[in-house]
Protein backbone atom coordinates (compact mmCIF):
# COMPACT_ATOMS: atom_id res chain seq x y z
CA UNK A 1 0.00 0.00 0.00
CA UNK A 2 1.24 3.45 -0.91
CA UNK A 3 2.04 5.90 1.87
CA UNK A 4 -0.78 8.19 2.96
CA UNK A 5 -0.80 11.49 4.77
CA UNK A 6 -2.93 10.77 7.79
CA UNK A 7 -5.50 13.29 8.94
CA UNK A 8 -5.37 14.79 12.40
CA UNK A 9 -8.52 14.80 14.50
CA UNK A 10 -9.67 16.96 17.37
CA UNK A 11 -13.04 16.67 19.09
CA UNK A 12 -14.03 19.56 21.34
CA UNK A 13 -16.78 19.28 23.94
CA UNK A 14 -18.99 16.96 21.89
CA UNK A 15 -22.50 16.41 23.22
CA UNK A 16 -25.29 14.38 21.66
CA UNK A 17 -28.53 12.78 22.79
CA UNK A 18 -31.11 10.46 21.31
CA UNK A 19 -34.80 10.94 21.75
CA UNK A 20 -37.06 8.19 22.99
CA UNK A 21 -40.80 8.89 23.30
CA UNK A 22 -40.04 12.61 23.43
CA UNK A 23 -37.48 12.28 26.25
CA UNK A 24 -33.86 13.08 25.34
CA UNK A 25 -31.41 10.37 26.41
CA UNK A 26 -27.85 11.71 26.55
CA UNK A 27 -25.34 9.59 24.61
CA UNK A 28 -22.25 11.82 24.76
CA UNK A 29 -21.43 14.54 27.27
CA UNK A 30 -18.54 16.95 26.76
CA UNK A 31 -16.30 14.47 24.94
CA UNK A 32 -12.93 15.83 23.87
CA UNK A 33 -10.01 14.04 22.26
CA UNK A 34 -6.89 14.98 20.31
CA UNK A 35 -5.36 12.57 17.80
CA UNK A 36 -2.31 13.66 15.78
CA UNK A 37 -2.06 12.57 12.14
CA UNK A 38 -0.98 8.97 11.61
CA UNK A 39 -1.63 7.80 15.17
CA UNK A 40 -4.11 5.14 16.16
CA UNK A 41 -6.69 5.48 18.90
CA UNK A 42 -8.46 2.70 20.79
CA UNK A 43 -12.01 3.68 21.68
CA UNK A 44 -13.00 1.48 24.61
CA UNK A 45 -16.10 1.30 26.78
CA UNK A 46 -18.96 -0.98 27.75
CA UNK A 47 -21.94 -1.45 25.42
CA UNK A 48 -24.00 1.73 25.28
CA UNK A 49 -21.14 3.97 26.44
CA UNK A 50 -21.33 6.08 23.26
CA UNK A 51 -18.56 4.63 21.06
CA UNK A 52 -20.66 4.24 17.89
CA UNK A 53 -22.28 7.65 18.39
CA UNK A 54 -18.86 9.28 18.63
CA UNK A 55 -17.74 7.66 15.35
CA UNK A 56 -20.91 8.86 13.58
CA UNK A 57 -20.34 12.41 14.80
CA UNK A 58 -16.72 12.35 13.61
CA UNK A 59 -17.84 11.21 10.13
CA UNK A 60 -20.54 13.90 10.16
CA UNK A 61 -23.52 11.54 9.79
CA UNK A 62 -25.03 13.26 12.81
CA UNK A 63 -24.49 16.85 13.88
CA UNK A 64 -23.31 17.31 17.49
CA UNK A 65 -25.60 19.28 19.79
CA UNK A 66 -22.61 20.91 21.44
CA UNK A 67 -18.95 21.14 20.48
CA UNK A 68 -17.29 20.47 17.13
CA UNK A 69 -15.11 18.07 15.19
CA UNK A 70 -11.93 19.63 13.82
CA UNK A 71 -10.31 17.75 10.90
CA UNK A 72 -6.71 18.55 9.90
CA UNK A 73 -7.02 21.76 11.89
CA UNK A 74 -10.11 22.85 9.90
CA UNK A 75 -13.24 23.85 11.80
CA UNK A 76 -16.66 22.78 10.44
CA UNK A 77 -17.38 26.27 9.11
CA UNK A 78 -14.22 26.51 7.02
CA UNK A 79 -14.54 26.13 3.21
CA UNK A 80 -12.56 22.89 2.72
CA UNK A 81 -14.38 20.97 5.47
CA UNK A 82 -16.78 18.98 3.26
CA UNK A 83 -13.83 17.75 1.21
CA UNK A 84 -12.03 16.63 4.38
CA UNK A 85 -15.18 14.83 5.56
CA UNK A 86 -15.15 12.82 2.33
CA UNK A 87 -11.65 11.62 3.26
CA UNK A 88 -12.96 10.11 6.50
CA UNK A 89 -13.84 6.44 6.03
CA UNK A 90 -16.21 4.66 8.39
CA UNK A 91 -16.81 0.91 8.60
CA UNK A 92 -20.01 0.13 10.49
CA UNK A 93 -20.70 -2.83 12.73
CA UNK A 94 -21.55 -5.83 10.54
CA UNK A 95 -20.75 -3.91 7.31
CA UNK A 96 -21.46 -7.04 5.24
CA UNK A 97 -25.12 -5.99 5.51
CA UNK A 98 -24.46 -3.11 3.12
CA UNK A 99 -23.21 -5.15 0.13
CA UNK A 100 -25.52 -4.77 -2.85
CA UNK A 101 -23.72 -5.04 -6.21
CA UNK A 102 -23.76 -8.12 -8.42
CA UNK A 103 -19.99 -8.63 -8.24
CA UNK A 104 -17.40 -8.09 -5.54
CA UNK A 105 -15.40 -5.74 -7.75
CA UNK A 106 -18.41 -3.56 -8.58
CA UNK A 107 -19.32 -3.27 -4.92
CA UNK A 108 -15.86 -2.02 -3.98
CA UNK A 109 -15.94 0.40 -6.95
CA UNK A 110 -19.17 2.07 -5.74
CA UNK A 111 -17.45 4.47 -3.32
CA UNK A 112 -14.60 5.72 -5.55
CA UNK A 113 -17.03 6.16 -8.47
CA UNK A 114 -19.33 8.22 -6.25
CA UNK A 115 -16.31 10.40 -5.46
CA UNK A 116 -16.09 11.12 -9.20
CA UNK A 117 -12.67 9.53 -9.73
CA UNK A 118 -11.34 8.70 -13.21
CA UNK A 119 -12.09 5.12 -14.31
CA UNK A 120 -8.38 4.17 -14.48
CA UNK A 121 -7.89 5.50 -10.97
CA UNK A 122 -10.98 3.64 -9.76
CA UNK A 123 -9.59 0.41 -11.21
CA UNK A 124 -6.25 0.89 -9.49
CA UNK A 125 -7.84 1.80 -6.13
CA UNK A 126 -10.26 -1.15 -6.21
CA UNK A 127 -7.56 -3.69 -7.15
CA UNK A 128 -5.27 -2.33 -4.45
CA UNK A 129 -7.99 -2.35 -1.77
CA UNK A 130 -9.06 -5.89 -2.60
CA UNK A 131 -5.49 -7.13 -2.51
CA UNK A 132 -4.89 -5.34 0.80
CA UNK A 133 -7.79 -7.11 2.56
CA UNK A 134 -6.67 -10.48 1.19
CA UNK A 135 -9.26 -10.87 -1.57
CA UNK A 136 -7.01 -10.79 -4.69
CA UNK A 137 -9.07 -9.34 -7.58
CA UNK A 138 -7.94 -12.02 -10.05
CA UNK A 139 -9.71 -14.57 -7.85
CA UNK A 140 -12.57 -12.60 -6.29
CA UNK A 141 -13.48 -9.75 -8.68
CA UNK A 142 -16.32 -11.60 -10.44
CA UNK A 143 -17.70 -13.41 -7.38
CA UNK A 144 -21.17 -12.47 -6.16
CA UNK A 145 -20.90 -10.72 -2.77
CA UNK A 146 -23.60 -12.91 -1.23
CA UNK A 147 -21.79 -16.06 -2.37
CA UNK A 148 -18.78 -15.20 -0.18
CA UNK A 149 -18.27 -16.48 3.36
CA UNK A 150 -19.10 -14.23 6.32
CA UNK A 151 -15.42 -13.34 6.91
CA UNK A 152 -14.85 -12.63 3.20
CA UNK A 153 -17.94 -10.41 3.13
CA UNK A 154 -16.64 -8.43 6.10
CA UNK A 155 -13.28 -7.91 4.38
CA UNK A 156 -15.01 -6.99 1.10
CA UNK A 157 -17.04 -4.30 2.88
CA UNK A 158 -13.81 -2.98 4.41
CA UNK A 159 -12.24 -2.90 0.92
CA UNK A 160 -15.26 -0.84 -0.22
CA UNK A 161 -14.25 1.86 2.26
CA UNK A 162 -10.46 1.54 1.72
CA UNK A 163 -10.93 2.01 -2.06
CA UNK A 164 -12.04 5.57 -1.26
CA UNK A 165 -8.49 6.06 0.14
CA UNK A 166 -9.48 7.54 3.50
CA UNK A 167 -6.90 9.51 5.45
CA UNK A 168 -8.79 8.91 8.68
CA UNK A 169 -10.42 5.52 9.13
CA UNK A 170 -13.09 4.82 11.76
CA UNK A 171 -13.70 1.15 12.53
CA UNK A 172 -16.72 0.14 14.60
CA UNK A 173 -16.33 -3.32 16.17
CA UNK A 174 -14.60 -4.83 13.14
CA UNK A 175 -13.69 -8.09 14.90
CA UNK A 176 -17.11 -9.15 16.17
CA UNK A 177 -18.24 -12.72 15.29
CA UNK A 178 -15.20 -13.55 13.18
CA UNK A 179 -13.28 -16.82 13.32
CA UNK A 180 -9.66 -16.63 14.59
CA UNK A 181 -8.15 -16.78 11.10
CA UNK A 182 -10.27 -13.89 9.77
CA UNK A 183 -9.58 -11.95 12.95
CA UNK A 184 -5.83 -12.38 12.37
CA UNK A 185 -6.15 -11.30 8.73
CA UNK A 186 -8.13 -8.23 9.70
CA UNK A 187 -5.65 -7.33 12.45
CA UNK A 188 -2.87 -7.61 9.86
CA UNK A 189 -4.80 -5.29 7.51
CA UNK A 190 -5.15 -2.75 10.32
CA UNK A 191 -1.45 -2.78 11.14
CA UNK A 192 -0.58 -2.39 7.44
CA UNK A 193 -2.92 0.62 7.26
CA UNK A 194 -1.32 2.04 10.36
CA UNK A 195 2.16 1.55 8.92
CA UNK A 196 1.10 3.34 5.72
CA UNK A 197 0.26 6.45 7.73
CA UNK A 198 -3.56 6.37 7.91
CA UNK A 199 -4.98 7.79 11.15
CA UNK A 200 -7.02 5.05 12.81
CA UNK A 201 -9.85 5.07 15.35
CA UNK A 202 -10.80 1.60 16.52
CA UNK A 203 -13.92 1.11 18.62
CA UNK A 204 -13.84 -2.37 20.06
CA UNK A 205 -14.49 -4.68 23.00
CA UNK A 206 -11.36 -6.64 22.12
CA UNK A 207 -8.86 -4.91 24.37
CA UNK A 208 -6.05 -7.32 23.42
CA UNK A 209 -6.19 -6.52 19.69
CA UNK A 210 -6.55 -2.81 20.54
CA UNK A 211 -3.38 -3.05 22.70
CA UNK A 212 -1.32 -4.41 19.79
CA UNK A 213 -2.72 -1.85 17.32
CA UNK A 214 -3.21 1.42 19.14
CA UNK A 215 -0.93 4.16 20.49
CA UNK A 216 -3.61 6.19 22.22
CA UNK A 217 -6.65 5.42 24.33
CA UNK A 218 -10.08 6.91 24.98
CA UNK A 219 -12.25 5.22 27.59
CA UNK A 220 -15.93 6.18 27.64
CA UNK A 221 -18.38 5.51 30.42
CA UNK A 222 -22.02 6.51 29.98
CA UNK A 223 -21.05 9.08 27.38
CA UNK A 224 -18.28 10.73 29.45
CA UNK A 225 -14.53 10.53 29.04
CA UNK A 226 -13.03 8.36 31.79
CA UNK A 227 -9.46 8.38 30.51
CA UNK A 228 -7.62 9.57 27.43
CA UNK A 229 -4.18 10.21 26.02
CA UNK A 230 -1.21 8.01 25.20
CA UNK A 231 -2.02 4.42 26.19
CA UNK A 232 0.30 3.76 29.08
CA UNK A 233 -0.59 0.70 31.18
CA UNK A 234 0.11 2.52 34.41
CA UNK A 235 -1.22 5.90 33.28
CA UNK A 236 -4.34 6.24 31.16
CA UNK A 237 -4.65 2.44 31.03
CA UNK A 238 -5.39 2.26 34.76
CA UNK A 239 -8.99 3.26 34.02
CA UNK A 240 -9.52 -0.15 32.43
CA UNK A 241 -8.73 -1.86 35.73
CA UNK A 242 -11.01 0.35 37.80
CA UNK A 243 -14.07 -0.03 35.54
CA UNK A 244 -16.06 -3.15 36.41
CA UNK A 245 -17.25 -3.85 32.87
CA UNK A 246 -13.80 -3.50 31.27
CA UNK A 247 -10.45 -5.20 31.74
CA UNK A 248 -6.77 -4.67 31.06
CA UNK A 249 -5.04 -6.25 28.05
CA UNK A 250 -3.90 -9.80 28.80
CA UNK A 251 -0.22 -8.96 28.33
CA UNK A 252 -0.41 -6.10 30.86
CA UNK A 253 -2.18 -8.31 33.41
CA UNK A 254 0.40 -11.03 32.80
CA UNK A 255 3.29 -8.62 33.40
CA UNK A 256 1.62 -7.53 36.63
CA UNK A 257 1.24 -11.17 37.73
CA UNK A 258 4.87 -11.89 36.91
CA UNK A 259 5.89 -9.04 39.19
CA UNK A 260 7.32 -7.09 36.26
CA UNK A 261 6.68 -3.41 35.54
CA UNK A 262 3.30 -3.23 33.78
CA UNK A 263 4.32 0.12 32.27
CA UNK A 264 6.82 -1.87 30.20
CA UNK A 265 4.42 -4.65 29.20
CA UNK A 266 4.95 -5.90 25.61
CA UNK A 267 2.52 -5.01 22.83
CA UNK A 268 2.66 -8.27 20.89
CA UNK A 269 3.07 -11.99 21.57
CA UNK A 270 6.41 -11.89 19.74
CA UNK A 271 7.70 -9.12 22.03
CA UNK A 272 6.47 -11.06 25.06
CA UNK A 273 8.24 -14.23 23.93
CA UNK A 274 11.43 -12.25 23.34
CA UNK A 275 11.25 -10.69 26.81
CA UNK A 276 10.54 -14.00 28.56
CA UNK A 277 13.12 -16.07 26.75
Amino acid sequence: MSATDGMSLRCEGLGFSYEEAGVPIPALRDVGVELPAGRSLALLGASGSGKSTLLQLIKGLDAPETGRVVLDGCAPDSPGYAGLQREVGIVFQAPELQLFATSAWEDVAFGPRRLGREEAEVRRAVDEAMALVGLPPEEFAARHPYALSGGEQRRLALAGVLAMQPRLLLLDEPFVSLDPATRRQLTAVCSRLRASGVTLVLATHDVDIAWTLCDDLLVLEEGRVLASGVWDAEGSGRALRSTPRLREPFLVALWRRLGRDPARAPRTHAEAAEALR
Binding site: L97, L99, V161
Partner: protein, 260 residues
Protein backbone atom coordinates in the same frame (compact mmCIF):
# COMPACT_ATOMS: atom_id res chain seq x y z
CA UNK B 1 -41.12 7.78 10.45
CA UNK B 2 -44.28 6.07 11.52
CA UNK B 3 -46.71 4.33 9.23
CA UNK B 4 -49.75 6.54 8.69
CA UNK B 5 -52.24 3.69 8.89
CA UNK B 6 -53.11 1.58 11.92
CA UNK B 7 -51.58 4.02 14.38
CA UNK B 8 -52.32 3.31 17.99
CA UNK B 9 -52.63 5.99 20.65
CA UNK B 10 -52.12 4.28 24.04
CA UNK B 11 -54.60 5.37 26.68
CA UNK B 12 -57.05 4.24 29.32
CA UNK B 13 -60.33 5.84 28.23
CA UNK B 14 -63.75 4.16 28.14
CA UNK B 15 -63.25 3.57 24.43
CA UNK B 16 -59.75 2.11 24.93
CA UNK B 17 -61.08 -0.40 27.46
CA UNK B 18 -63.81 -1.75 25.18
CA UNK B 19 -63.30 -5.18 23.65
CA UNK B 20 -61.67 -5.11 20.19
CA UNK B 21 -64.37 -7.35 18.73
CA UNK B 22 -67.22 -5.16 20.01
CA UNK B 23 -65.52 -2.06 18.60
CA UNK B 24 -64.88 -3.74 15.28
CA UNK B 25 -68.49 -4.94 14.93
CA UNK B 26 -69.81 -1.54 15.96
CA UNK B 27 -67.63 0.41 13.51
CA UNK B 28 -68.38 -2.02 10.67
CA UNK B 29 -72.12 -1.78 11.30
CA UNK B 30 -71.99 2.02 11.29
CA UNK B 31 -69.94 1.95 8.08
CA UNK B 32 -72.51 -0.27 6.36
CA UNK B 33 -75.40 1.89 7.64
CA UNK B 34 -73.56 4.98 6.32
CA UNK B 35 -73.78 3.57 2.81
CA UNK B 36 -77.40 2.45 3.16
CA UNK B 37 -78.59 5.92 3.99
CA UNK B 38 -78.41 8.84 1.59
CA UNK B 39 -79.78 11.79 3.49
CA UNK B 40 -77.87 14.57 5.22
CA UNK B 41 -79.97 13.98 8.36
CA UNK B 42 -78.85 10.34 8.61
CA UNK B 43 -75.26 11.37 7.92
CA UNK B 44 -75.47 13.95 10.73
CA UNK B 45 -76.58 11.28 13.23
CA UNK B 46 -73.61 9.04 12.38
CA UNK B 47 -71.23 12.00 12.36
CA UNK B 48 -72.32 13.07 15.84
CA UNK B 49 -72.04 9.49 17.15
CA UNK B 50 -68.51 9.09 15.70
CA UNK B 51 -67.43 12.51 17.00
CA UNK B 52 -68.72 11.74 20.51
CA UNK B 53 -66.85 8.41 20.49
CA UNK B 54 -63.68 10.19 19.35
CA UNK B 55 -63.98 12.78 22.13
CA UNK B 56 -64.57 10.08 24.75
CA UNK B 57 -61.36 8.33 23.62
CA UNK B 58 -59.30 11.34 24.73
CA UNK B 59 -57.07 11.13 21.64
CA UNK B 60 -55.87 14.60 20.58
CA UNK B 61 -57.65 15.79 17.42
CA UNK B 62 -54.32 16.23 15.66
CA UNK B 63 -53.95 12.43 15.51
CA UNK B 64 -57.12 12.16 13.46
CA UNK B 65 -55.85 14.92 11.21
CA UNK B 66 -52.54 13.09 10.71
CA UNK B 67 -54.32 9.96 9.48
CA UNK B 68 -56.86 11.96 7.48
CA UNK B 69 -54.46 14.26 5.63
CA UNK B 70 -53.21 11.62 3.13
CA UNK B 71 -56.86 10.92 2.20
CA UNK B 72 -57.63 14.56 1.43
CA UNK B 73 -56.61 14.09 -2.20
CA UNK B 74 -58.96 11.17 -2.61
CA UNK B 75 -61.82 13.16 -1.14
CA UNK B 76 -61.03 16.22 -3.25
CA UNK B 77 -60.99 14.02 -6.35
CA UNK B 78 -64.34 12.43 -5.42
CA UNK B 79 -65.81 15.86 -4.84
CA UNK B 80 -64.62 17.18 -8.21
CA UNK B 81 -65.71 14.22 -10.31
CA UNK B 82 -69.17 14.22 -8.70
CA UNK B 83 -69.49 17.95 -9.08
CA UNK B 84 -68.55 17.84 -12.76
CA UNK B 85 -70.30 14.71 -13.92
CA UNK B 86 -73.44 14.31 -11.78
CA UNK B 87 -76.61 14.95 -13.80
CA UNK B 88 -78.84 17.95 -12.92
CA UNK B 89 -80.02 21.43 -13.93
CA UNK B 90 -76.84 23.46 -14.64
CA UNK B 91 -76.65 26.86 -13.03
CA UNK B 92 -73.26 27.55 -14.52
CA UNK B 93 -71.46 26.06 -17.56
CA UNK B 94 -67.87 26.28 -18.64
CA UNK B 95 -66.40 24.49 -21.66
CA UNK B 96 -67.76 20.88 -21.50
CA UNK B 97 -68.58 21.07 -17.78
CA UNK B 98 -71.96 21.76 -16.23
CA UNK B 99 -72.29 22.79 -12.59
CA UNK B 100 -75.64 22.00 -10.99
CA UNK B 101 -77.05 22.38 -7.48
CA UNK B 102 -77.82 18.65 -7.50
CA UNK B 103 -74.20 17.89 -8.43
CA UNK B 104 -72.87 20.17 -5.69
CA UNK B 105 -75.22 18.61 -3.16
CA UNK B 106 -74.27 15.07 -4.18
CA UNK B 107 -70.52 15.84 -4.18
CA UNK B 108 -70.71 17.36 -0.68
CA UNK B 109 -72.73 14.40 0.53
CA UNK B 110 -70.22 11.83 -0.75
CA UNK B 111 -67.25 13.76 0.68
CA UNK B 112 -68.88 14.11 4.08
CA UNK B 113 -69.75 10.41 4.04
CA UNK B 114 -66.07 9.57 3.47
CA UNK B 115 -65.08 11.94 6.27
CA UNK B 116 -67.45 10.25 8.74
CA UNK B 117 -66.24 6.83 7.60
CA UNK B 118 -62.61 7.76 8.24
CA UNK B 119 -63.53 9.30 11.60
CA UNK B 120 -65.32 6.13 12.74
CA UNK B 121 -62.43 4.00 11.46
CA UNK B 122 -59.84 6.09 13.31
CA UNK B 123 -61.70 5.66 16.60
CA UNK B 124 -61.17 1.91 16.14
CA UNK B 125 -57.51 1.95 15.06
CA UNK B 126 -56.39 4.75 17.40
CA UNK B 127 -57.82 3.13 20.53
CA UNK B 128 -57.12 -0.55 19.85
CA UNK B 129 -53.63 -2.03 20.16
CA UNK B 130 -52.65 -3.76 16.90
CA UNK B 131 -52.28 -7.08 18.74
CA UNK B 132 -55.78 -6.84 20.25
CA UNK B 133 -57.17 -5.90 16.85
CA UNK B 134 -55.63 -8.88 15.07
CA UNK B 135 -56.71 -11.20 17.90
CA UNK B 136 -60.24 -9.82 17.63
CA UNK B 137 -60.27 -10.28 13.85
CA UNK B 138 -59.01 -13.83 14.23
CA UNK B 139 -61.83 -14.56 16.67
CA UNK B 140 -64.44 -13.00 14.40
CA UNK B 141 -63.04 -14.99 11.46
CA UNK B 142 -63.32 -18.31 13.26
CA UNK B 143 -66.42 -19.50 11.39
CA UNK B 144 -64.27 -19.32 8.23
CA UNK B 145 -62.07 -22.10 9.62
CA UNK B 146 -64.84 -24.51 8.72
CA UNK B 147 -64.08 -23.51 5.14
CA UNK B 148 -60.40 -24.31 5.85
CA UNK B 149 -59.36 -20.65 5.87
CA UNK B 150 -56.32 -20.51 8.25
CA UNK B 151 -57.60 -17.48 10.18
CA UNK B 152 -55.29 -17.83 13.21
CA UNK B 153 -52.25 -18.15 10.96
CA UNK B 154 -53.33 -15.11 8.95
CA UNK B 155 -53.74 -13.14 12.17
CA UNK B 156 -50.26 -14.24 13.30
CA UNK B 157 -48.79 -13.13 9.97
CA UNK B 158 -50.35 -9.70 10.37
CA UNK B 159 -49.07 -9.48 13.95
CA UNK B 160 -45.52 -10.40 12.92
CA UNK B 161 -45.62 -7.94 10.02
CA UNK B 162 -46.72 -5.12 12.35
CA UNK B 163 -44.10 -6.12 14.92
CA UNK B 164 -41.26 -5.95 12.36
CA UNK B 165 -42.11 -2.60 10.76
CA UNK B 166 -40.16 -0.57 13.39
CA UNK B 167 -37.25 -3.06 13.27
CA UNK B 168 -36.99 -2.76 9.50
CA UNK B 169 -37.16 1.03 9.72
CA UNK B 170 -34.16 1.01 12.09
CA UNK B 171 -32.26 -1.29 9.73
CA UNK B 172 -33.20 0.85 6.74
CA UNK B 173 -31.80 3.88 8.54
CA UNK B 174 -28.52 2.06 9.27
CA UNK B 175 -28.05 0.86 5.70
CA UNK B 176 -28.79 4.36 4.39
CA UNK B 177 -26.17 5.80 6.73
CA UNK B 178 -23.59 3.26 5.63
CA UNK B 179 -24.24 3.95 1.94
CA UNK B 180 -24.25 7.70 2.54
CA UNK B 181 -20.82 7.29 4.13
CA UNK B 182 -19.77 5.62 0.86
CA UNK B 183 -20.95 8.63 -1.10
CA UNK B 184 -24.54 7.66 -1.93
CA UNK B 185 -26.85 10.64 -2.37
CA UNK B 186 -30.55 10.16 -1.66
CA UNK B 187 -31.75 13.72 -1.71
CA UNK B 188 -30.70 15.20 -5.05
CA UNK B 189 -31.76 14.69 -8.65
CA UNK B 190 -35.00 13.75 -10.35
CA UNK B 191 -37.27 10.80 -9.47
CA UNK B 192 -35.38 8.37 -11.71
CA UNK B 193 -32.00 9.26 -10.25
CA UNK B 194 -33.39 9.06 -6.73
CA UNK B 195 -35.01 5.71 -7.49
CA UNK B 196 -31.66 4.41 -8.74
CA UNK B 197 -29.93 5.77 -5.63
CA UNK B 198 -32.27 3.63 -3.51
CA UNK B 199 -31.09 0.38 -5.12
CA UNK B 200 -27.99 0.05 -2.88
CA UNK B 201 -30.37 0.35 0.08
CA UNK B 202 -33.23 -1.86 -1.06
CA UNK B 203 -31.12 -4.86 -2.04
CA UNK B 204 -29.44 -5.26 1.38
CA UNK B 205 -32.78 -4.57 3.07
CA UNK B 206 -34.47 -7.38 1.13
CA UNK B 207 -31.62 -9.80 1.72
CA UNK B 208 -31.75 -8.97 5.41
CA UNK B 209 -35.54 -9.37 5.59
CA UNK B 210 -35.44 -12.80 3.97
CA UNK B 211 -32.64 -13.91 6.26
CA UNK B 212 -34.61 -12.63 9.25
CA UNK B 213 -37.78 -14.40 8.09
CA UNK B 214 -35.84 -17.66 7.76
CA UNK B 215 -34.34 -17.30 11.22
CA UNK B 216 -37.68 -16.37 12.76
CA UNK B 217 -39.36 -19.42 11.20
CA UNK B 218 -36.61 -21.67 12.58
CA UNK B 219 -36.78 -20.06 16.02
CA UNK B 220 -40.56 -20.45 16.11
CA UNK B 221 -40.31 -24.12 15.16
CA UNK B 222 -37.63 -24.65 17.79
CA UNK B 223 -40.10 -23.23 20.31
CA UNK B 224 -42.73 -25.73 19.14
CA UNK B 225 -44.88 -23.51 16.93
CA UNK B 226 -47.23 -25.70 14.91
CA UNK B 227 -49.64 -24.21 12.40
CA UNK B 228 -53.26 -25.23 12.98
CA UNK B 229 -52.88 -25.79 16.71
CA UNK B 230 -55.07 -23.70 19.04
CA UNK B 231 -52.83 -21.30 20.98
CA UNK B 232 -53.47 -19.61 24.30
CA UNK B 233 -53.20 -15.84 24.70
CA UNK B 234 -51.26 -13.65 27.12
CA UNK B 235 -54.09 -11.12 27.16
CA UNK B 236 -57.31 -13.04 26.54
CA UNK B 237 -60.08 -11.02 24.92
CA UNK B 238 -62.79 -10.32 27.34
CA UNK B 239 -66.32 -8.95 26.98
CA UNK B 240 -68.17 -7.13 29.77
CA UNK B 241 -71.19 -4.91 30.34
CA UNK B 242 -69.57 -1.88 28.66
CA UNK B 243 -69.31 -3.84 25.42
CA UNK B 244 -72.99 -4.78 25.60
CA UNK B 245 -73.80 -1.08 26.14
CA UNK B 246 -71.66 -0.19 23.11
CA UNK B 247 -73.50 -2.67 20.88
CA UNK B 248 -76.92 -1.51 22.15
CA UNK B 249 -75.96 2.14 21.56
CA UNK B 250 -74.67 1.28 18.09
CA UNK B 251 -77.99 -0.42 17.25
CA UNK B 252 -79.89 2.63 18.53
CA UNK B 253 -77.71 5.08 16.53
CA UNK B 254 -78.11 3.01 13.38
CA UNK B 255 -81.89 2.79 13.87
CA UNK B 256 -82.18 6.55 14.38
CA UNK B 257 -79.81 7.25 11.50
CA UNK B 258 -81.77 5.07 9.10
CA UNK B 259 -85.19 6.48 10.11
CA UNK B 260 -84.70 10.28 10.35
Amino acid sequence: MRPAIAQYYPGDSVIHRLDARAKFVSVTAVAVALFLRDSFAGLAVFAVAAAVAYMLSGVPAVWFWRGFRPLLWLIALTFLTQLLFAPGEPFFSWWVFDFSWQGLRFASFLSLRLLVLVLAGSVLTLTTAPLALTDGLAWLGRPLRRLRVPTDELALMVTIALRFIPTLLVELEQIMRAQRARGADFSHGGPIRRGKALLPVLIPLFVLSFRRADELALAMEARCYRPGVVRSRLHPLHVDAADAVLLALTAAVIAVGLIV
